[in-house]
């Protein structure tokens, strides 16, 4: 039980806390709970959790502020929870250090999937990153810059590859428009969502079986994109 991943949940709603504690404990996680931002920050410092689940609407401080304060000293994965329709808050939290988000109400499978991805990425930060990403019949070799479907190589342009490589090396995680744009095109072009839309279409045409219903590069409405690799 001592090796069980430790999850810190920071939320002020008792019903959510009750449900999350029950479910996560059942899944053999170690769970700590904080009702307020200040309390959460203290617990994060003293108990060094492996993942933090953070509600954006806390009574004492802004969730984004909690993200910022945590990022001053730790790289622990943060999954933010927020009500629907607050894309701005979510993007803001993601751009200030959060790793992923979930919209309330959420299904538990979704939550567990996010937790798993976060744990994997936190392990990778410490160790070596995976050099080959597999998704369905796609293979992306991040060392040799080779993308294959089955045995057949897919020809990508420079920008397309850069885009895919960034998404794939962060597979499972959401990447905001801004973070993709500034990573692939540079800070100066961070507002040009139109580049992203057009290149994403080209990329999907080359990668996806049905570009209209993408399986590998999925859109997160109003927020960004996520690359879905095999677990």
């Amino acid at each position: 039980m001592n090796n069980a991943p430790h999850i810190l949940v920071i939320d002020d709603e008792p019903q959510i806390l009750r449900a999350l504690r029950t479910i996560l404990t059942e899944k053999e996680f170690k769970v700590s709970i904080a009702n307020r931002g200040e309390e959460g920050l203290n617990l994060a410092a003293t108990q060094t959790p492996d993942v933090i689940i953070l509600d954006l609407g806390l009574p004492d401080m802004d969730g984004v502020e909690v993200c910022k304060r945590l990022r001053e000293w730790t790289q622990v994965p943060i999954i933010v929870l927020s009500a629907r329709d607050n894309e701005k808050d979510k993007v803001n939290a993601l751009d200030h250090g959060a790793d992923d988000y979930l919209t309330k109400p959420f299904g538990i499978e979704e939550l567990l999937a996010r937790v798993r991805v976060s744990l994997r990425h936190s392990v990778q930060k410490q160790g070596a990153q995976s050099k080959i990403v597999k998704a369905g019949d796609l293979t992306i070799d991040l060392v040799w810059h080779i993308v294959k479907r089955g045995d057949e190589e897919i020809k990508l342009t420079g920008t397309e590859y850069k885009l895919l490589a960034y998404l794939a090396s962060n597979h499972g995680r959401i990447l905001t428009h801004q973070s993709i744009l500034s990573h692939v095109w540079g800070e100066a072009d961070a507002d040009h969502t139109e580049y992203l839309r057009v290149y994403m279409r080209q990329l999907r045409k080359k990668l996806e079986e049905n570009p209209e219903r993408p399986k590998y590069v999925v859109t997160e409405p109003g927020i960004g994109y996520r690359f879905m690799a095999d677990e």
């Binding site: 299904g107 020809k155 342009t157 969502t193 139109e194 580049y195 570009p211 209209e212 409405p221 109003g222």
Partner: protein, 479 residues
């Protein structure tokens, strides 16, 4: 209104005209008698009075008196008179000429005054026309400043109101005290003032009086604007009140239905009456899950509607690809669409549109779920998109029942349903949310009956601040 230069010209003209007349009569002197000459002299005097006014008329009458005496009354070239008859002619001439000038001059002044009054009336009328229908202070200040500037030809005009001030022709006023200051006030309080800078020509009392009238017109317009604003606020409050009660009645019904299902399912799962491995258990659990989603949708719709009502639904525009938005919606709705055939004709090569991704997703979701709800199973639901001038025109057509023509517009109203409430589920908000979103984007939405079906149409602009989607940087091929 006449300038000094034209005054000089008028004097010159009078002298020349009398000189010409005198020369002409001088050559005809032997054929005309004195009385006729005197009579003919009245013509140029009349003309001069007509042009130059009373003073010039009398001056030229006196001038003519002397030339008549000098050139035409014997003895010639002296101012003495020998014949008593000539003396009578001269006297009568002087009296007639002066009286004629006076009468004409007065008439002229009357015409000028009437013209000035007409001009004042026109300017006042223009101001009041310009002020009608203006409901905010800054627009009123701006209009007043423009009118005052064009009327007075001042160097600078400034209109100061409680919340706003407006200067013309530039924003900053001259670095000295204004030459005229008129306050804009109602019976109860002072609302602002008009400041005017014009050193030359000096501001007359007529101009000042007109400006005071302007000020009182403006005071009226300001009061009217205030009333209009408070009235529209009252109207909004009343509307939102109506909406609230409509929501309450709809919500109590709509929210309770899924809640009842959830309660029934969860309590029976809890009661141990259903064995752990029975298929009913799976059925009940998925009922809870589905109804929770349904509840979430209802709450979302209510939230959106209240946002649209409050006017705070501002699209977060970005360049988006319609095909991508639609693809996401179809993927999420595939379970609902299993019983229909969906044909999509939305090319990826359509230009990018400046829309809010999440809001457009909602438009598609609501229109599609509405189409799927009413169209008979195993029929086709089609989605087409094409460019029409500066807009993208999207059509969702289905083979469902037609809607009576008089209801085609009303289906976008809140809580409006063509069919009875208990037959079809929903909040009655979906379509009005679509309308709110599309209109916030600057587009249009409407419904139409097709020969064998029904269609929703909407347009969204292709331009963002008047500009189309920008060109992309050139991509380098991978080595």
């Amino acid at each position: 209104m006449t300038s000094p230069l034209s005054k000089t010209w008028q004097y010159l003209f009078s002298v020349v005209l009398i000189a010409l007349t005198t020369t002409l009569f001088y050559f005809l002197r032997d054929f005309l008698n004195t009385t006729i000459v005197a009579l003919l002299y009245l013509i140029p005097i009349g003309v001069i009075t007509g042009i130059g006014g009373l003073f010039l008329g009398i001056t030229s009458a006196i001038l003519s008196f002397f030339t008549l005496n000098y050139f035409f009354i014997q003895p010639y070239y002296t101012l003495s008179v020998h014949q008593p008859a000539d003396l009578v002619v001269l006297t009568v001439f002087l009296i007639v000429a002066v009286v004629l000038s006076q009468l004409m001059g007065k008439a002229q002044a009357g015409v000028a005054a009437a013209n000035a009054r007409e001009q004042e009336a026109t300017q006042l009328y223009e101001l009041s026309v310009a002020l009608t229908g203006l409901n905010d202070e800054s627009a009123i200040a701006q209009t007043l400043a423009k009118q005052v500037l064009s009327m007075t030809k001042a160097e600078h005009v400034e209109v100061k109101l409680a919340t706003d001030s407006f200067g013309l022709p530039e924003k900053t006023s001259p670095n000295r005290n204004p030459d005229l200051q008129i306050s804009i006030q109602t019976v109860r309080n002072v609302l602002g003032e008009i400041l005017l800078w014009r050193a030359e020509p000096v501001i007359t009392s007529g101009v000042k009086r007109l400006l005071e009238t302007f000020a009182s017109q403006t005071a009226l317009a300001l009061e009217r604007a205030k009333f209009a604003q408070s009235e529209s606020r009252a109207k909004v409050l009343e509307e939102s009140d109506k909406l609230k009660s409509a929501i309450l009645s709809s919500v109590s019904h709509e929210l309770r239905t899924p809640l009842s299902t959830i309660k029934a399912a969860s309590s029976s799962l809890r009661s141990n009456e259903i064995s752990w491995d029975s298929p009913a258990r799976v059925e009940l659990i998925s009922a809870i899950d589905d109804e929770a989603d349904h509840l979430n949708l209802l709450v979302g719709n209510l939230l959106d509607m209240s946002r649209i009502e409050a006017g705070v639904l501002k699209p977060k525009r970005e360049w988006n690809m319609l095909a991508e938005i639609l693809g996401g919606v179809l993927e999420r709705m595939k379970h609902f669409a299993e019983k229909h055939k969906i044909e999509v004709n939305v090319s990826e090569d359509l230009p990018l549109v400046p829309v809010d991704y999440v809001q457009m997703e909602q438009v598609f979701t609501n229109l599609l779920s509405n189409s799927l709800k009413y169209a008979p199973i195993n029929t086709i639901v089609r989605i087409d998109a094409k460019v029409e001038k500066d807009f993208l025109h999207v059509t969702l057509s289905n083979q469902g029942p037609q809607v009576p023509n008089e209801d085609l517009e009303r289906i976008f109203d809140k809580f409006y349903r063509v069919t009875a409430t208990d037959k079809v589920t929903g909040t009655g908000l979906g379509l009005s949310i679509c309308k709110g979103i599309i209109e916030a984007h600057g587009g249009n939405i409407w419904a139409e009956n097709l020969p064998n079906g029904f269609a929703f149409n909407f347009t969204v602009p292709l331009l963002w601040d008047g500009k189309p989607a920008p060109k992309l940087p050139i991509d380098s091929e991978m080595e």
